[in-house]
Symmetry: C2
Subunit: 319 residues, 2 copies
């Protein structure tokens, strides 16, 4: 039997550690939430403990594992295994996460960006099976991506390639991204942008059937809130989904012009907005791409689901 892989998905709210077989199936996993707010070395200790716990409870030894792959929600200096920045966790500024985990084990450890891990999962086990080139875009609180070209992740010199969320699609826009710039794809179409877009539409005079009291705290506007609106047939929510979908449509059109890829996979929490959203994204894409499509391009939903980051992080050991 081939050795199991250990995956760690270090998220902004959830820390998952799992044993994954080489076919991408989860053998066992543990999920905790109390890593949030902890100092870096405490998080490393927690990850170490959870891995050892999983190994023991499955009657294994460390040497039964091929290695440990860690996915991180932020910029990663790939070759050095260092986290550079993140807006999803406290600290981790230039923190040698790979080395810190590796010193507690005698098996290989690698560290990559979580969107790369998810992209790799889709490529190996999900919607990207059978393709050698694809772009994976996750549309969630933020927007991340993984670029797979000729069966390899393309990471750039640092390891931060694929930041489509920070590309500017509307240079006239005043919608501001967490990075400080305006008109980034993220500023126009991700979860974090929803409060501002919602407020803008209220100010523009849009009517909403969602509860918006005078002292309404706009920061509570997220993907789920808007989804509730859609289910109620709320015109403001529908117009937000339309606007976000149009911008994602522009984003994937740009990806298409740059990469001429056979496949773009869309994942992330906002995909729960459903069929109407995806249809709108695709319509915008095809409206822009029209007669410039010379070979079939597929735009599909991710298949790997909520564990894509965990499975992908582990599977990166097979890259």
């Amino acid at each position: 039997m081939e050795k199991l892989l250990c995956g760690v998905d270090l998220g902004g709210t959830k820390l998952s550690v799992g044993l994954i077989d080489p076919a991408g199936r989860i053998h066992d996993k543990i999920i905790v939430y109390d890593h949030v707010g902890k100092e870096e070395n405490m998080v490393v200790e927690q990850i170490t403990r959870l891995i050892m716990q999983l190994i023991a409870s499955n009657g294994l030894r460390e040497s039964d594992l091929q290695g440990i792959g860690v996915g991180f929600p932020g910029h990663v200096r790939y070759n050095d295994g260092i986290t550079i920045t993140t807006s999803n966790l406290k600290g981790f500024k230039n923190f040698p996460l790979r080395q810190a985990v590796a010193k507690n084990f005698n098996i290989p450890v690698l560290l990559d960006n979580d969107a790369n891990a998810q992209a790799w999962c889709e490529y190996k086990f999900g919607a990207g099976r059978g393709y050698d080139t694809l772009i994976f875009l996750t549309i969630s609180t933020g927007i991340g991506a993984g670029i797979i070209l000729n069966n390899k992740l393309y990471r750039g010199i640092t390891g931060t390639a694929g930041e489509f969320g920070h590309t500017i699609v509307n240079s006239n826009s005043k919608q501001r991204c967490t990075c400080g710039n305006e008109g980034c794809l993220m500023a126009c179409a991700c979860g974090r942008a929803l409060p501002e877009i919602f407020k803008k539409k209220i100010e523009e005079g849009y009517k909403t059937s969602l509860p918006v009291p005078d002292d309404f705290d706009y920061s509570q506007v997220d993907g789920k809130f808007i989804l509730k609106g859609i289910e109620m047939g709320d015109p403001l929510s529908i117009s937000i989904i339309d606007e976000c979908a149009e911008n994602i449509g522009i984003g994937i059109y740009n990806i298409f012009q740059i990469f001429n890829p056979p496949l773009i996979i869309l994942g992330g929490g906002l995909m729960h907005w459903g069929e109407a959203y995806l249809t709108r994204v695709k319509n915008k894409f095809y409206q822009l791409a029209r007669d410039m499509i010379f070979d079939k391009i597929e735009i599909v939903e991710s298949e790997a689901g909520g564990d894509a980051g965990l499975i992908g992080a582990a599977a990166l050991l097979l890259e």
Copy 2:
């Protein structure tokens, strides 16, 4: 001695055919302009004749050449050697150009997009020497690009990757590209966009010291015309250069976020706008990229000059 390479740069105004040595030096070349407007097979015949003429006048035989590389100013189906579309030459819609040339010779023939050829020339012999990854952007009548990743041209499934000119950077803009879309980088910053931008600024009330009679034909506004304005200190021309530079700055910022490359090379006719233009492009880039630059990125002018397309087309035989 290593065999010579034959390059063909089939441009919208100029057809160059040359013998190039493996170090990228031009051994001999012929330039003609009377291919414009000719039917595809006539152009093939002309290319064939010019190659044979070069071979003969240099006392060579066909077998003294490694092969023939053809650069084409439009979309190319790379694997099949077929031209798909071009806005720079009459015809050539789905024309099997590689095969049509190849049937007149007994040596390998390849066909690629002209921006790919130029990028390859920069990589082999120009500003990209010593880099394994770079993006080359040519800012001219249109905007084209070549993507070199890990010492290879990245072409996508069809061969049309790298169309940064068609990426949308200002989705609010009404400036229209030849492709029909609005707000493309090309619509905002290439030579073909200058008449519209010039007209827009006149209508906005900008004063110009350039001659603009009542019956002014805006289609004559091109890079040279604006350059004349700059040399006169014309405020309208300066503001056009600023606006175009800002948009190119956004374009290369997007390239930076997507590819995390060590090098971006800028070439093409509008680079003749000079130092102030390039400085403005770079300033916009650094203003946007700020603290997101984790490894050194160089933004430099192309070195290969006017023969980059010719030399690059030939050098593609060495890829």
